[in-house]
Subunit: 102 residues, 2 copies
Amino acid sequence: MGVKSILETHPLLSDRVRLSIMGVLASSEEPVSFNELLEALSLSKGNLSTHLKKLEDEKLVEVNKQFVDRKPRTDYVCTLKGREELNNYLEQIQKMLKQTKK
Amino acid sequence: MGVKSILETHPLLSDRVRLSIMGVLASSEEPVSFNELLEALSLSKGNLSTHLKKLEDEKLVEVNKQFVDRKPRTDYVCTLKGREELNNYLEQIQKMLKQTKK
């Protein structure tokens, strides 16, 4: 039936919120700040932080903390591994789409 | 950034296992038995039952219990709602794939 491959994708991506975070980061050409993510996804700070920490621990995203005009700024980028895992996940889903739509 | 739409898909589908179950059911033209699902997805009985119950409670799948040759047989089908939700989910994913690949 050929959908078993979905079960072999990265487990962290099997969550709407984390998938959306990865989508925002992977489709941006520049680092995205915590506040931009907050606004783009309408999440609570705690919720967003928790998900970002999980993605960071698995090296799917990379964090960069710095001071800009003396204010702390936290930026996130999608790592190469993150992009590969995301594309793999999305492609497996797409394959399934083609099967179920026939 | 346009990936927020993933957050508006059915919450139950944002799980690899449930998504796979739905994929098997939606791509089959006939009802699929519990044992066929078990074999197709290599899950434990308990794990599969738990996910199926959740999908059933949300009317994404329909269950049919009957006796065949005096043996109990439990069949599952994807409901119309389930198919719509699945297609919606997969379409959002497809959009994301286009964005993240550019």
